[in-house]
Amino acid sequence: MNGSAKPYGVVAEFDTPAATMHAAEKIRDQGFTRWDVFTPYPVHGMDKAMGLRNSKVGWFTFIGGVTGYITGMVMQWYMNAYDYSIVVGGKPMFSPIYSFPPSYELTILFGAFGSLFGMLFLNRLPRLYHPLLKSRRFASVTHDKFFVVIECGDPKYSDTETRKLLESSGSKHIEVAEE
């Protein structure tokens, strides 16, 4: 091990989803904030075990959608009624009725942008490198192992106590990942 490297967090390996779930519940009840669970497949009920709240992505979608709707309406008013007004089919220069379908499409488009970029932003993506990828054992997370990682940056983190907590919750193998 390179002694000068900064530790990133403790990585605890588990064999079963049930053990991982119980460990997650313990960590949640201790009040940790900067930690995560890694599993080879989605485990039902893990969000509750981890105490995760609803994702905030919805707000990005909503703001994106509202922006799209307003953009659509303003754009059509500017083009058809203000900048270069032309009568088409005997319709008014501007009407919310004919402007609705394009505005609606833009609502969906910008809403989708909001979801995508909001998700990337909240996940701090794109990211070219992650400390956990250095760990050999961690590679088996895509196969048959379950991992709980508590970051050293967590205010509740302590070198000895956190390791003990993970040991007591039944982890078979614990190591420290480096930055």
Binding site: N54, G58, F62, G89, G90, K91, I97, Y98, F100, P101
Partner: protein, 412 residues
């Protein structure tokens, strides 16, 4: 009765007090409706038609939800399916309630008394829109709905006893063919009984428009009934967060779907600006019909849309119960907007509101009695549905799994 004792031990919602409500609604509504019929027979007919279309929405919406359940092999609707089946099985009662419309039809539908040779629109549509065929269709439509609803419920009840997979296959077969019959018959009902009030009009979206409004109202009703049945006892342990959340999500989806369909209908007519189409909306932009139109835009769509947008709203009873009751009010406005301008061109007939409400009350009372009778006669939810354990998040290993595993081992 076990459900009764349960409700008195657990009951956070005292239902015994409301036991006489359907009788009172039936008696009071019926009496006022009779007075209305004596005062103005034609106006009574329109009020009756409105009430009929309102409750037909629930009946057909329920049939659709049952069909949907089987088509998608849904899991979360299992605990709710039984009472929805009972609502769908109200079809024969609806036929009995159709009787006044059957008798008053020539007074309600102007085309019935017009000579098609003198009216171009009617002449063009006469192949479909003629009185004998109209009467025949009434019985064909009710026949199909009754056959579908009773067939689906028959096998569902049989599964309570036998638990056989065969029942599920039978119900799926009813649903697979039934969805087509449902689409055609609902469209015909909407055209025959509501759209033909103004026979000159054209709209290819009318059937799906009534469908969207119907399922929306039905989902609101299903949500409310689930709340009542959960608090009163019968669905106490089986109606869970999932059922409320997903019914709420579907309600939200149909809020948008209804708005999409109604806007599309308006937009196409507005854009094409053909007199034989626009007159329908021009009529409905006259007087206080304009305000009702605005109430539909903002109350049928914008308000429920914004309220239901948040994911947690669907589980919050303080939000959902008022919204579901509001949905009934909006559906009433919507049907009034469709039916009443034929008789009241000047605006919304507030002076006749008592008769509309009386007919609605009478229908509500009669149908509630019929519903409660079948609800009390059968288990409150499917007892041995193959999806039931899964819905309750219980894992049951298949009975034959052990044998199969050893057989596989042997083959290796």
């Amino acid at each position: 009765m076990s459900s009764h004792t349960e409700s008195s031990t657990f009951g956070s919602l005292e239902l015994a007090r409301w036991r006489q409500l359907p009788t009172w609604l039936m008696a009071g509504g019926g009496l006022l409706a009779l007075i209305g019929a004596a005062v103005d027979l034609q106006r009574f007919g329109y009020a009756w038609l409105l009430a009929f279309m309102f409750f037909l929405s629930l009946c057909l919406g329920a049939l659709f939800l049952v069909i949907l359940h089987h088509l998608f092999d849904a899991m979360w609707t299992v605990p709710l399916r039984r009472f929805v089946e009972h609502i769908a099985c109200l079809a024969p009662v609806m036929l009995a309630l159709f009787l006044p419309i059957l008798v008053l039809a020539p007074k309600l539908y102007p085309w019935m008394t017009i000579d098609p040779e003198t009216d171009h629109a009617l002449h063009a549509k006469h192949q479909f829109l003629n009185a004998p065929l109209w009467y025949v269709r009434v019985f064909v439509l009710f026949g199909i709905w009754t056959w579908l609803a009773y067939g689906l419920r028959k096998w569902s009840l049989k599964q309570d006893e036998t638990g056989a997979a065969e029942c599920t296959y039978k119900m799926r077969r009813y649903s697979a063919g039934g969805i087509f019959l449902f689409a055609v018959t609902l469209t015909m009902a909407a055209i025959d009984w509501m759209k033909s009030l103004e026979h000159q009009w054209y709209s290819t979206m009318y059937g799906v428009y009534y469908f969207a409004a119907s399922v929306w109202t039905t989902l609101a009703t299903v949500y409310l009934i689930t709340v009542v049945l959960k608090h009163a006892g019968p669905l106490r342990y089986v109606a869970r967060e999932r059922q409320f959340h997903d019914t709420g999500v579907l309600l939200f989806a149909f809020t948008v779907f209804y708005a999409y369909i109604h806007f599309s209908q308006y937009f196409l007519i507005w854009n094409a600006a053909l007199p034989e189409e626009t007159y329908w909306y021009v009529k409905r932009e006259t007087g206080s019909w304009w305000d009702i139109g605005m109430i539909i835009v903002f109350g049928h769509f914008v308000l429920p849309f914004l309220t239901l947008l948040r994911i947690d709203a669907k589980l919050n009873l303080r939000v959902m119960v008022p919204i579901c009751v509001w949905a009934w009010l909006m559906h009433f406005c919507d049907l009034s907007y469709n039916i009443m301008p034929v008789r009241h061109a000047a605006g919304f007939p507030a002076q006749w509101l008592w008769l509309d409400l009386a007919c609605l009350a009478f229908f509500g009372g009669v149908l509630a009695k019929a519903f409660l009778k079948s609800f009390n006669a059968h288990p409150p939810y499917p007892q041995r549905d193959p999806r039931f354990a899964e819905t309750m998040e219980v894992y049951l290993p298949p009975a034959s799994s052990g044998r199969q595993a050893s057989a596989h081992g042997g083959a290796k």
